[in-house]
């Protein structure tokens, strides 16, 4: 390829990239930079930054017990949803990977919640959690127990939110396990059968280790989701009672659009971005060592 031709190709390639570059700069890179900048300034008129205060906003944020409560909630939310939904997803995938009566229906039943908007799922679960006429309390009543205020009691509201999230997510992760299971060489199973290996030890010694990359992949996705998904809070709890179910991104939303405090919102956003950066680094170093991005 001649030199001028090469230059021409470079220019052409750059032009092809231009629309994506402009949009990514506008809605990803620029807002990231301004968020970081806003977190270093005091807010002024209409939330515009005025005086540079360095890390003072972070100091204020870290001294605020509400922030720690929300961060702790998010941690509990992650710990509560991720292992459960991954374990259920694996179980579901193992179920529907074998020849089972009604396999098509089972797959559909597990996967359907994935297709629903979170907001619709939350609407449906409101019927279960409502204190007076909700289904859960009616079932408890039939068994002779008194009802529970599933979303109104600070000590169990977060768990109620977690249960719904697990229901929503498990089927999505099942798909990845199912694909991994189906790509496993059947000779392994045949060899294990010849040696009389029990199904239990075959699972722990062969299947589970071979599924490790899938588990890591699903784990990364679940981690991202746990800081990103907040839609259900709008319907179920609005972060209450007394911030018992507030999560980081919802707290950002509240600060920015209910309290009109853009500086605090920016500061919390930077914390979220740092968490996401850690997850991204994990993904690119551990998980994708063998895949090529070049």
């Amino acid at each position: 390829m001649s030199f001028t031709n090469h230059r021409k190709m470079q220019l052409y390639g750059a032009l092809l990239l231009l629309p994506a570059a402009v949009l990514l700069t506008t809605f990803a890179y620029l807002p990231t930079v301004t968020t970081v900048i806003n977190s270093l300034f005091l807010p002024g008129f209409r939330g515009a930054p005025t005086e540079f205060v360095g890390l003072e906003n972070y100091q204020v944020l870290f001294d605020d017990p509400t922030f720690w409560k929300v961060a702790r909630n998010n941690l509990i939310y992650a710990v509560g949803t991720i292992p459960t939904s991954i374990a259920l997803a694996l179980g579901m995938a193992l179920f529907v990977n074998r020849k089972l009566r009604g396999r098509g229906f089972l797959r559909m039943a597990y996967f359907t919640p994935t297709i629903l908007p979170m907001i619709a799922a939350a609407n449906i679960w409101m019927f279960f959690y409502a204190p007076q006429i909700g289904l859960f309390n009616k079932l408890l009543g039939m068994l002779g127990f008194s009802g529970v205020n599933w979303l109104g009691d600070p000590s169990i509201a977060l768990s109620s939110v977690i249960v719904m999230s697990v229901w929503k997510e498990a089927g999505f992760f099942m798909i990845f396990y199912l694909a991994a299971l189906q790509s496993m060489p059947p000779e392994l199973k045949e060899a294990a059968d010849l040696e009389g290996t029990s199904r239990w030890s075959f699972f722990w010694r062969v299947t589970f280790p071979l599924l490790m990359p899938t588990t890591l992949f699903v784990l990364i996705n679940a981690l991202i989701n746990s800081v990103r998904v907040v839609d259900h809070l709008f319907i179920l709890t609005k972060g209450g009672p007394n911030n018992a179910t507030n999560l980081l991104l919802y707290y950002v939303y509240e600060n920015a659009f209910s309290f009109f405090d853009r500086t605090t919102a920016a500061t919390i956003t930077v914390v979220i971005l740092l968490v996401l950066a850690v997850v991204a680094t994990l993904k690119f170093t551990i998980l994708d060592r063998r895949t090529h991005y070049q």
Binding site: A20, P31, V96, A120, K138, D231
Partner: protein, 280 residues
């Protein structure tokens, strides 16, 4: 039924596969139950929400109530416009960028590509405050463009298409060039047709994502004219509005029906597309 039965315990009833079938079905029933319950509630008079009776009289009143109490027709139109616009925009912008990454010598290409991949983690909704400010400076508040534009340059789309384009043999490209095609013609006549399965997979994932998206559309819109179904439903079913549950169930079903029907009809394609888009 099962290849392992020869080593499973002899008793048929207590053998693991039978227990497994029961467990699998139990789990499936639990998983599908919330949706079935919403169906039941939507088609029965609201007084039966309190006193559950499986064979209570059927009614369509909840749907007519919901339809008359909120402008669902408008919401449908908005969601449809949004999803169509976003997917077309994504296809165009991501195709061009993916083609550049796959076939053109660009200085610092790898660094640029890593920069694009950052968007897999830093979504528009995480940067909601600054994106809102930018959208308002661009005059995009309360517009369907405002809801969709931040998602058009999708890292996932660029990545998936680039991977597909890279697998297409150069010989096909050379043949097209001998016939006198320029770059855009080569892209349109060689690369795009061969990447059809990727477009289908990515399109389905994108449609379901934008049909379901909530927080960003909620922030950007403030009137009926631009609200998509999810935001309309969220406003409609807020506890403060005092709408009864049977009506909320009907409204919920109205909002999810098109996507749910599409999913039931094209289940396999949906599942495969989620898988294809997920493996990155």
């Amino acid at each position: 039924m099962n290849t392992t039965t020869s080593y499973a315990p002899r008793s048929r009833f207590f053998s693991t596969p039978a227990l497994e079938t029961v467990a699998a079905w139990l789990l499936a029933i639990i998983w599908i139950f919330p949706l079935l319950y919403a169906f039941w509630a939507a088609f029965h008079p609201s007084e039966f929400m309190v006193n559950f009776e499986l064979f209570a009289p059927l009614t369509l009143e909840n749907f007519t109530n919901a339809w008359s109490q909120a402008p669902f027709a408008r919401y449908y139109l908005n969601t449809f416009a949004l999803v169509t616009g976003v997917v077309i925009g994504q296809f165009v912008v991501c195709t061009l960028a993916a083609f550049a990454f796959a076939r053109f010598p660009i200085p610092g290409k790898n660094v640029l590509f890593m920069l694009v991949l950052i968007q897999l983690f830093v979504f528009p909704e995480v940067l909601i405050v600054e994106n809102y400010r930018i959208a308002s400076e661009l005059g995009l508040i309360n517009t369907i463009t405002g809801i969709g534009l931040p998602y058009v340059a999708s890292a996932l789309g660029i990545f998936l298409l680039r991977q597909t384009f890279k697998t297409i043999p150069r010989e096909l490209e050379d043949a097209a060039r001998i016939e006198g095609c320029n770059w855009l013609e080569i892209l349109w006549k060689v690369y795009v047709p061969l990447a059809k399965p990727t477009y289908l997979a990515y399109g389905l994932v994108s449609i379901s994502h934008h049909w379901n998206n909530f927080i960003w559309p909620l922030v950007v819109t403030n009137s009926v004219e631009s609200r998509p179904l999810t935001v309309g439903l969220g406003v409609f079913s807020a506890p403060e509005t005092g709408v009864n549950w049977a009506t909320v169930s009907a409204a919920t079903l109205l909002s999810i029906a098109p996507l749910l029907i599409a999913f039931l009809l094209f289940q396999r394609q949906f599942v495969q597309s989620f898988l294809r888009a997920g493996i990155r």
